[in-house]
Symmetry: C2
């Protein structure tokens, strides 16, 4: 892609009311655009990042046996009444009325999933059920101030599972936890699995996947040895205490919740009369779990933890392009075509602006490798990683083999 | 995928109020589930079909230079007021109020696109702009009765373009028309490009891509020679008249609109003050077009035109799987694994049900190739195309090379 033709170039200023680093960098880099408080468009660059995040999540969730579907976003009031959440989640839920029908926008999909399952399962042979989708969530968050970390409208992968017994549920719950660890590792995020409260979802203890960050709206007390972490909203221990394994004193820190997993037991299934007949002919309510990862929030978190004062530093796995090619003479176009032909994803800065401006944008946009073609580099190409200061002069072939 | 593990098996009965063939077949086959009038979940089988449709559209639109983005679904009233459509489209638009803010759900995205562009373009060098996304549309249709053909919530690919002059717009308009013809051909749909009215979108003449079908809610008058077609809502000629090229008498027929392209001139840009400075330093309003294809409607239309009395007959390009493997003995599992290993998408009917039931479901679900492994077939495998009655006995290798 030629940068001259890419929609939405970098800008010097982000909206003043967007104070978080992730929003500043993503807005200035041309990854996202703000429609209104808590609502952003994904521009071509940001869309590519989110698609890569999506592909990684899909791959790992498919491995757990999850089957991909797509559930609607506009929901009939009647389903939300079955669990009582039409009332209990009213604050966060967008509700509307048209022609005497009342609807809610998807702030989550538990009710829709359970309605789907009760229509399509009868026997114990139909269990377990593991369905997920990538879809839009709407939440009227009062504090929509952390850039793309807490949106009023955002993209989420939500997975729902139903199991014939508690044991089967628990096994899958921890299997998903493992899949989440793999996903976040591939996204370049170090997560701390943290016990937390379930909010409008459940009274049970749940698990959050927390990334340490000063921007985070959460606060956790955790052991650096990795065997203890609780959200301060439920923690009874205090900072400084030793964990049970004697690692060192517990620490308190701000963090961003990038994923969560919930166990609901049989409660929702009882409320919505989701049941099956077991091999003894008895009616049984299945055990229910739900598992979420915010895609746009993941992108924001990556920007939040992987940046320097010049801009974003994308991990290779989610970078919008593999190479940022700075063209400073007429030979650059030929190099661009050769690199593209190799199947390498390249953003070619072919604009009629100064070298300095191009270098600045290369740093801001944060693509892992920067190549420079100029009269100075002669037949060679300057190769530089975004993570390093060092530059090298390489032949085109050598540069290509370093990248692919 | 083992059919025993696939979520949502075939069912004998579809909801009684769904009378259209597409809804009957897609519901009975386990492709979709009905949440409420005009709103459907995509089940794993249907999701796979829609993803294949999406990939074909993406490929062809990318070739026209379209750049993929994602725009929000919840829109501030203020933007809809700029064009006046908050009032003029009130009937079809879902509007809501929360905490003193008023919103509309995306019944289309012209206003959002133009708002995005006016923030990110200044100069003639930024033109043309060609952005598209796959996203959800909400339309409160009175006649939500044609199954998945006319939903209240549905998936659409919508492309928007802005051009510095009318000539540039027209060139791209017909380029997209050509891309649409390629897309529909790949989807197995024969389209008739038809002049039509623009509804709440524009007073200009627009073009629809119509597929002949008795289920269609549209009616067109067209020449079989291919040089004339008008939607009867604007047609002044009558059935029976000869077209200007003298092909034969014009025909009248019911049809399904699977895509449309609109030219808006400068009207919307003037209303929303989207402009640029040309090379003479003058303020110019660009020329605007929008181009839609309903993904879920495309799936419904394919089912509507490609079926027989036993079920759907998917074109290879969009079939959920390439092979339906009917296993009737213990050797089938080994064959399944070998076929999967070849990278062939296979749905393996491993259920403990009669051969007759499996054959029936193979026909209903409509995967292009049916393979049978049974004691009768011995070392060989029975090969049958969904489009043919003829069966053949082949070695596994021969069967695989026929498919891949």
């Amino acid at each position: 892609m030629k940068y001259s033709e890419l929609f939405a170039k970098s800008t010097k200023d982000a909206p003043k009311d967007e104070v978080s680093i992730n929003a500043q960098l993503l807005l200035r880099g041309g990854f996202i655009d703000k429609l209104m408080a808590g609502s952003f468009s994904l521009l071509p660059l940001g869309f590519r990042v989110v698609k890569k995040i999506e592909a990684i999540i899909r791959e790992e969730i498919n491995k757990t046996g999850g089957q991909e579907v797509l559930m609607p976003l506009l929901h009939p009031k009647s389903l939300w009444n079955e669990t009582g959440r039409w009332e209990t989640a009213k604050d966060v839920m967008y509700q509307l009325k048209k022609d005497d029908h009342e609807y809610a926008l998807s702030f989550t999909h538990e009710e829709i999933f359970l309605d789907l399952v009760r229509k399509h399962t009868q026997s114990f042979r139909d269990y377990p059920v593991k369905l997920y989708h990538f879809s839009t969530k709407f939440r009227d968050e009062l504090r929509a101030k952390s850039g793309i970390l807490r949106g009023r409208e955002f993209l989420m992968k939500d997975l729902y599972s139903l199991h014939a017994d508690q044991k089967g549920f628990e096994k899958y719950y921890w299997e998903v936890a493992d899949a989440y660890k793999k996903i976040f590792k591939r996204l370049g995020l170090e997560v701390i699995v943290t016990e937390a409260a379930g909010g409008v979802f459940t009274k049970n203890v749940t698990h959050e996947f927390q990334v340490l960050s000063e921007t985070g709206e959460d606060e956790i007390i955790y052991c650096e040895g990795g065997d203890f972490s609780q959200n301060t909203e439920i923690a009874k221990v205090k900072e400084g205490k030793k964990c049970d394994l004697g690692h060192g004193p517990l620490k308190k820190a701000k963090s961003i919740e990038v994923g969560n997993i919930f166990g609901f037991g049989q409660e929702y299934c009882k409320k919505m009369n989701v049941s099956f007949t077991n091999d003894k002919g008895e009616k049984v309510y299945p055990y229910f779990g739900s598992y979420g990862i915010g895609l746009t929030r993941a992108m924001g978190t990556i920007a939040e933890v992987h940046h320097d004062d010049k801009g974003i530093i994308w991990p290779e796995s989610v970078a919008p392009y593999q190479v940022y090619l700075v063209g400073l003479n007429s030979k650059a176009d030929e190099v661009y075509q050769k690199i593209e032909k190799e199947g390498i994803e390249v953003l070619f800065d072919d604009r009629d602006v100064s070298a300095g401006e191009k270098f600045k944008d290369a740093d801001l946009i944060g693509i892992p490798v920067r190549l420079v073609v100029s009269d100075k580099t002669g037949e060679k190409i300057e190769f530089k990683k975004r993570t390093e200061e060092k530059t090298e002069l390489l032949s085109l072939d050598a540069a290509i083999s370093r990248i692919s």
